[in-house]
């Protein structure tokens, strides 16, 4: 209460601060770039303004344009609508002729619109251009270049639009006539120089032409691309949805612009989307690349909060509104606001860096809590408040469950150095009602923040010994981390024990976390594999290491190291593994011998001791396989001779005994004999966890071929591995 009034009471610090702020604001408001020097400049500016206003086509001029168009064309607009549209066009053309931003209607687009949507005949177009050209001459601030650009744009856009409209009519005839000519249609679609595709009744792409594949940077030989997955965001997908809804069987409908991306989510073009409906619910979608005409006008980027990289309130509301517009009648939408009540206090006590860390951690937890749920949106509304739009196809119960989970996850302890911090967020939630806007929904959710029950307990911070990993939240966020390109691969050198030459590298996956930490996640991947959590890590890591192998091959030739990837149990037994490996090797144009898959015994053996199919198939592809866990979780030594193994990996727990003191000779004997056994059933033995020169010497004496461990170097970037290879040495 005191804070609300303190700044009004003279003598208080709050009052002084407010006075300073007010003085600063008034000072700043008077400052800025200098105005035009004198009354003459002001008068000249006004004259230019009046001239611009006068040069805009008056109502009479627009009526003449409309009459010229209507004289030889049957137009789909009423006279009033046509005049309103022509007025908008004229303003845009005037701006472009003067060298200004024409906004949504550059001349080329106006020409296309006349040809495609208004479907004017060439005669009508010629008549109206004969009126537009002298009008352009009257524009005082339009130079010769600007007027030429406008006329050229009009003509170019119109001819392009006519070509597309005629083709669209032919395509429509091919599919809607009593005897549809599907082969002709398919061939015409394929030959079309514009990106285009055909959609089935369920909305999936059934045919895509080469131009579309090239635009989206997808493989020529692969299946049809999922067009929706190549649209940059919800707004772009909404453009496609509107085009499909508005598409008529008797013509082509253009419905706005969208940004398309390549398979990695990188924007590649800005396109105009048009759709044509065929029989049986099929649809054809045409994309017109307008990137060049938009090149000087950058696509607005969403406003992202600097700390959490979440959308700020304006873009959050925009996304919420798009989701509400696109949601079905049966979907239940709820907007939840979460407020960190302790933000000021955390800042005062720990400083702004910790406050930002907490915000990032909370943002990561909220994102993880709703990861994988359809049609959710997360945003940072202000420094203390986050917004989450939740959609549930079934009921409000699902929304409230999600809100409970959000509060629970945000309230989980977090660790800052050796202190444990437990937050106590306030939550408000409002259900979207028919006809309400995103802004109204947010207002109700914010109001609910203050009317809901006080969360139990106050936030606390206490010292805690050690750090416990935030495993459940990391696990939940791992899937999105792959999509957000937050994962990187590091390589641990594997050296030939005889001469110390680096001949291989073991790949490990690292996650660049939002809080700035970089964490190795192979344990998370194993855990996810154990609990059956589906991740796209497998295909991702295979593509990455194969691409790296190709780069090393090009740079180092025959000396390029072989890359070992540790495959967890379920993935190793999955039928999809072999095709994934085959595809990765084929796409990367890499020899199978440059890759080695390291697997636990449960991944290579069936219960009856026979090799699993995958092992056999990998052998057929000549992909080397290494067996892990020998000596610690492998018992079927009788089956070793039946397995097709390139390498057996001696685990670090056993390697550590290779330089055991004489008193522990028995431990050393186990390791030594296992190395000997492994040597007899495979082509090479790799000892992991080599820390000392003595371990290296012993392993070499026992005819282990390869070694890996801190003695030779830890996980490092691929460039460092290449340097080691080129220098002909290991790090140890």
């Amino acid at each position: 209460m005191w804070r609300r009034v303190a700044h009004r009471i003279p003598g208080t610090r709050e009052y002084a601060r407010w006075r300073t702020a007010r003085a600063a604001l008034r000072w700043r408001a008077r400052s800025g770039p200098p105005a035009p020097a004198g009354p003459e400049e002001v008068a000249a500016a006004l004259d230019r303004l009046f001239a611009r206003a006068a040069a805009a086509p008056d109502a009479e001029a627009v009526r003449r344009w409309a009459a010229a168009l209507a004289a030889h064309s049957r137009l789909p607009l009423t006279p009033a609508e046509l005049e309103a549209q022509l007025t908008v066009f004229a303003e845009a053309l005037a701006r472009q002729a003067a060298g200004r931003d024409p906004g949504e209607w550059p001349a080329q687009r106006v020409g296309r619109e006349l040809a495609v949507r208004l479907a004017v005949t060439p005669r009508s177009f010629q008549d109206v251009v004969e009126l537009i050209v002298p009008w352009l001459e009257t524009l005082g601030d339009a130079g010769v270049e600007g007027r030429s650009r406008v006329i050229a744009g009009l003509g170019g856009g119109f001819s392009e639009g006519v070509r597309d409209r005629v083709l669209g009519e032919q395509l429509a005839a091919a599919v809607t006539s009593p005897q549809p000519d599907r082969p002709w249609f398919d061939a015409a679609l394929d030959r079309l120089p514009r990106p285009a595709c055909a959609l089935g009744p369920d909305g999936t792409v059934v045919r895509a032409n080469a131009a579309l594949r090239a635009l989206l940077r997808v493989d020529e030989q692969g299946g049809p691309p999922d067009l929706r997955a190549h649209l940059a965001g919800p707004e772009d997908r909404a453009v496609l949805d509107r085009a499909l809804r508005a598409a008529g069987g008797d013509g082509v409908t253009g419905c706005g612009e969208a940004t398309v991306t390549d398979p990695h989510g990188v924007p590649v073009a800005r396109v105009e989307v048009t759709a044509l409906r065929g029989p049986g619910g099929t649809c054809q979608v045409f994309l017109h690349d307008v990137t060049a005409s938009r090149a000087w006008r950058q696509v607005p980027l969403p406003d992202l909060d600097e700390v959490t990289a979440l959308p700020e309130q304006r873009d959050f509301l925009h996304q919420v509104q798009s989701t509400m517009d696109a949601a079905g009648a049966d979907a239940t939408l709820g907007l939840c606001t979460l407020r960190l009540r302790e933000s000021d206090e955390i800042t005062r006590r720990f400083g702004p860096l910790v406050r930002d860390f907490v915000a990032k951690a909370v943002a990561a937890r909220i994102t993880a809590a709703v990861a994988g749920m359809p049609a959710t949106t997360v945003g940072r509304l202000d420094r203390d408040t986050f917004g989450v739009l939740i959609t549930d196809q079934d009921s409000w119960h699902g929304v409230t469950d999600t809100v409970r989970r959000l509060v629970d996850w945000v309230s989980e302890p977090m660790w800052i150095d050796d202190s444990e911090l437990v937050l106590s967020p306030a939550a408000g939630v409002a259900e979207a009602r028919p006809g309400s806007t995103a802004g109204q929904l947010l207002a109700r959710a914010r109001a609910a923040l203050h009317t809901g029950p006080e969360p139990g307990g106050r936030w606390r911070a206490r010292r805690r010994a050690g750090v416990r990993p935030d495993t459940p939240h990391l696990l939940a966020g791992l899937a999105d981390a792959i999509d957000r390109d937050e994962l990187v691969v590091a390589y641990t050198p594997i050296v030939r024990l005889g001469d110390g030459q680096v001949v291989g590298a073991e790949a490990s996956t690292w996650w660049q976390l939002p809080d700035g930490d970089r964490r190795q996640i192979d344990d998370l991947v194993s855990l996810a594999d154990d609990i059956g959590l589906t991740l796209r890590w497998g295909p991702w890591i295979l593509r990455r290491v194969v691409a790296q192998a190709a780069r090393w091959r090009r740079a180092l030739g025959e000396a390029a190291p072989r890359i070992t990837v540790n495959i967890p149990r379920r993935m190793a037994r999955d039928r999809a593994l072999v095709p994934q490996v085959e595809t990765a090797l084929s796409d990367g144009a890499v020899a199978a011998s440059q890759l080695m898959l390291s697997m636990p015994h449960s991944a290579v053996l069936q219960d009856n001791g026979t090799p699993l199919d995958n092992l056999v198939k990998l052998g057929g592809l000549e992909v080397p396989v290494a067996l892990e866990g020998v000596g610690i979780d492998f018992a079927r030594y009788d089956t070793l001779t039946r397995l097709f193994l390139q390498s057996v990996v001696i685990p670090s727990q056993l390697t550590a005994t290779l330089d055991a003191p004489r008193a522990e000779a028995s431990r050393q004997a186990v390791a030594e004999n296992l190395i000997r056994i492994s040597r007899s059933v495979s082509r090479e033995v790799t000892v992991k966890g080599v820390r000392t020169a003595a371990q290296r010497e012993t392993a070499h004496k026992l005819s282990a071929a390869l070694g890996q461990g801190v003695l030779f170097g830890g996980p490092q970037p691929p460039e460092d591995i290449a340097d080691l290879v080129a220098a002909g040495r290991s790090a140890g």
């Binding site: 709050e14 408001a29 800025g32 206003a53």
Partner: protein, 182 residues
């Protein structure tokens, strides 16, 4: 109803006075909102739109700021036409008349930094209010109610008068040590 030449002249004369009274302030405000855009062009377009609707407008000052705000949204990613050898913010700051003493200058800069850290609607309301717009005019520009504007200004005032969270316990505006005992 068509206008006579006399009506036209009278309107132009009123508009000239309006233009003279507000053009400079609008340009400054636009450059304050975003130093990177071409503030002259946005201001010119805003006044053009205002002139076109001159006879219909009850509050032309509010309308011209609103038009400028819309124009800023469209142009906010465009780089200003004038090439500058300096960083845009430095160049903008260089044009400002400086308070005479160093201490006041620093206090002002700290206070303005705090303004920039306000949420967008509060920030905009505060800036427009500093320029002299009434709450009703600010409501027109922001597209909300007068009561909301009053709340925005009150909340902004409360935040700007509180201790600076970014200072982390150090000196706040005025050079006094903030002991955090609020």
């Amino acid at each position: 109803m068509t206008s006579t030449p006399d009506d036209e002249d009278r309107a132009k004369q009123e508009f000239r006075q309006f233009y003279g009274a507000n053009y400079d302030a609008l340009r400054r405000q636009i450059s304050w909102w975003d130093p990177a855009v071409d503030h002259d062009e946005i201001a010119d377009d805003a006044f053009l739109q205002t002139w076109r609707r001159w006879r219909e407008l009850d509050n032309p000052r509010a309308f011209v700021y609103k038009a400028a705000r819309n124009g800023l949204r469209n142009g906010r990613r465009m780089v200003g036409r004038r090439a500058s050898p300096m960083d845009l913010h430095e160049g903008d700051a260089a044009l400002m008349a400086r308070p005479s003493d160093v201490e006041t200058r620093q206090e002002f800069q700290d206070a303005l930094d705090r303004v920039e850290r306000l949420p967008p609607q509060l920030r905009l309301a505060v800036k427009l209010h500093a320029l002299g717009l009434s709450k009703g005019e600010i409501a027109t520009v922001l597209g909300c109610g007068k009561k909301t504007v009053a709340n925005y200004l009150s909340e902004a005032r409360r935040r700007l008068s509180g201790p600076d969270p970014e200072a982390g316990g150090g000196s706040g505006p005025g050079g006094r040590q903030d002991r955090g005992d609020v």
